[in-house]
Symmetry: C2
Subunit: 405 residues, 2 copies
């Protein structure tokens, strides 16, 4: 801490509120009793708060197979409230009575099994705080669109604490037969989205989650149970999961051939790209949280993540990548979890700035520039865009989305 009698750098930078001439008058809310306990047995947020999930009308033909975005500009820390978790549905949200839920495990197993939800809850638990990201996050940017704010450039991203039962445990119950090397995980909604998962991943850290942020998984997130594949792209985290089939090769479902396959410059697609690459974005300031009328001290803050492990370092530039400073990473820094970074800055009216963040993970993976990404992977791709993102701060403090190298 700075010596208590010295004006701090923050103070000098102009963030000081007006000195109090007199204490504020007693407000009306301090002079009357409010509602008591359990007026809301299940609580809701303040009526003054308005952040919501949003969608892009032109992006999909309907809202049944569409996406909504988390308002990242309003999010603090590394946990996303479940009510603001982004959505991606392919056949809408099913309403599944928990007593009627079943999960079948079959295929190359010794004992095909059908689990009720209660069966799953009886088995040993695992919990994990981790991020989930749709691999199409930022895909519109890749193709040249410049969306109006961080909710749309990066908002298919959320962080939760998930709890459930390890696939290791479930597969041990069923008993794997010789040759077992892949799983097919299939959803119980009308789209029956199905993805092939390597057995090695299933035996590593995959689990069936029935809880999210302490309570039951929300309907939009797969109630009553979904697959969690830490670090893997979000569409593989099968929601409303009804079936796991064990086999000896991938299935090549339409969900991993027609969609969710990385189109390369030569016109071919990568077969599978499971892991979300190291990535980061500045969430303050951003287009939704401008600097208009706010000269002086600014704390630049954002989120970093890597599907391969822990974030090791985040560098921040205010001049479009000419100079970089290393940001502070807020504890806890967890593997395959959102990591919050922060760094102080000072902005003056009339100053133009290009804000960028560049994350590195524990394996040394670093975000590329948008130019390097396009050079390697072309301009027609959608998935796994992880290039360095740029916010332009205009001289008046307005923040806009630009693409520079």
């Amino acid at each position: 801490m700075a010596p208590a009698t010295r004006r701090s750098a923050i103070l000098a930078a102009g963030a000081l509120p007006a000195a109090a001439a007199a204490p504020p008058a007693l407000p009306e809310w301090g002079a009357a009793l409010g509602p008591g306990v359990i007026e809301e047995p299940y609580g809701t947020r303040s009526r003054h708060e308005t952040a919501t999930r949003r969608y892009v009308p032109w992006l999909t033909p309907d809202r049944v197979s569409s996406v909504s975005f988390t308002p990242l500009a309003d999010m603090q820390g590394i946990i996303t409230p479940s009510g603001l978790h982004f959505e991606r549905h392919h056949g809408g949200v099913p309403d599944i009575p928990p007593d009627d839920y079943r999960l079948m495990i079959h295929g190359l197993v010794e004992r095909p099994l059908v689990f009720t939800l209660e069966d799953l809850k009886r088995l040993p638990q695992v919990s994990r705080i981790c991020f989930i990201e749709c691999p199409a996050n930022g895909g519109m940017e890749w193709r040249g669109a410049q969306m109006s704010g961080v909710q749309f450039t990066h908002g298919m991203l959320s962080g939760s604490e998930w709890t459930g039962v390890s696939l290791r445990v479930l597969l041990a119950q069923a008993g794997l037969r010789p040759g077992a090397s892949w799983l097919l995980a299939e959803g119980g909604d009308a789209s029956h989205l199905a993805r092939s998962v390597p057995l090695a991943k299933a035996l590593d850290d995959a689990f069936i989650a029935y809880a999210q942020n302490g309570e039951a998984v929300r309907p939009q997130q797969g109630y009553p149970a979904r697959l969690v594949l830490p670090g893997y792209e979000g569409n593989m985290w099968i929601k409303w999961i009804r079936r796991i089939e064990v086999g000896d090769r991938p299935w090549f479902t339409r969900w991993e051939t027609r969609t969710y396959a990385d189109l390369m410059p030569d016109g071919l697609s990568r077969q599978f790209t499971f892991v979300n690459e190291v990535n980061s974005v500045i969430t303050a300031p951003c287009p939704e949280k401008s600097l208009r009328g706010r000269p002086g001290f600014v704390e630049i803050s954002g989120l970093a993540w890597s599907g391969a492990g822990r974030v090791r370092r985040v560098d921040v530039s205010v001049d479009g990548g000419d100079n970089w400073r290393t940001a502070e990473l807020a504890e806890p820094v967890l593997s395959k979890s959102l990591t919050r970074f922060r760094i102080p800055w000072e902005w003056q009216e009339g100053q133009r700035a290009f804000l960028q963040s560049r994350a590195m993970d524990e394996h040394g993976r670093v975000q590329p520039t948008i130019t390097a990404l396009r050079a390697a992977r072309g301009t027609e791709s959608i998935y796994h865009k992880n290039s360095i993102h740029t916010w332009l701060v205009e001289p008046d403090g307005t923040v806009v989305n630009v693409q520079i190298d």
Copy 2:
């Protein structure tokens, strides 16, 4: 992992679901499209989920100055959803428009200051996952009541990720004057609850939080801003905070003399007892989650916490303390945070068992027995009960709250 072809101990213990003779029929929810995205722009939980905060009608004369309890039996992991966070109000919940909110810092400072909410949000941020516990948690048990479930024995306890601005930063803005050694923190609600806080704590890890679990603090938890004092008793985490006065001695408010003071056997009270002691409770099984009809494998799971730092170890007994086994602590194990512990067990119908957990923190503090607690601190006290708790599993699997040594 157990070899895939070997029947695991869990399986042998009888947790196996019925082998699937045929796959389940396609359920109706898999044959029709559901609602699309942003049907709920701010999401709610499944209509099938019913866990709620509850209160005890005979405990307080009204609900304006009362308490509601978190349904710990339904909680997983270490994050409590904000909608189920326990409540303790002394004058009901004020409705504070965020633009009208003010925080004044005055007293032994060089520059009295008044902060708006926007001022607070501009300053450097801190985030922390930590527990909050009312010091009266378990007080009814201490006096001999045996409440019907873990929601009422331990439910004045929740865990959240809080984000805000450090008191270090705010006090540096105001500048401390010679002799400054205590703060008074006062709430803006009609009760104006006010507590004295040592300056050393304020400069260590205290902060003013405006976010909880990623979004704005909920009204019942102090919207738009509250004090967070990691590890200190919950009533000191002043909600709707309006004023911090710096002084050279504690204030001895009614909130720290008439209430929230530990009554000792000799009739005197301890002057201050800020830190919540090391504690733990088994949340599964418990009275709300019995073992009736569920012989075989049981995972005993619960929560441990210490206001002094990290939980180092949790031992579990199934025979009332004659024998102990050490449970697994789930990652992350964070200082002054809830820590989830788990340990496998096997229960057979007809078996009576006395389940206990005993936590130790990084400083070597260990939970006492209820007899040892009463011997040291008498039977008329309410606050800071942290004795080992016992659930009796009856031969039919019913779980009841008992007090044994």
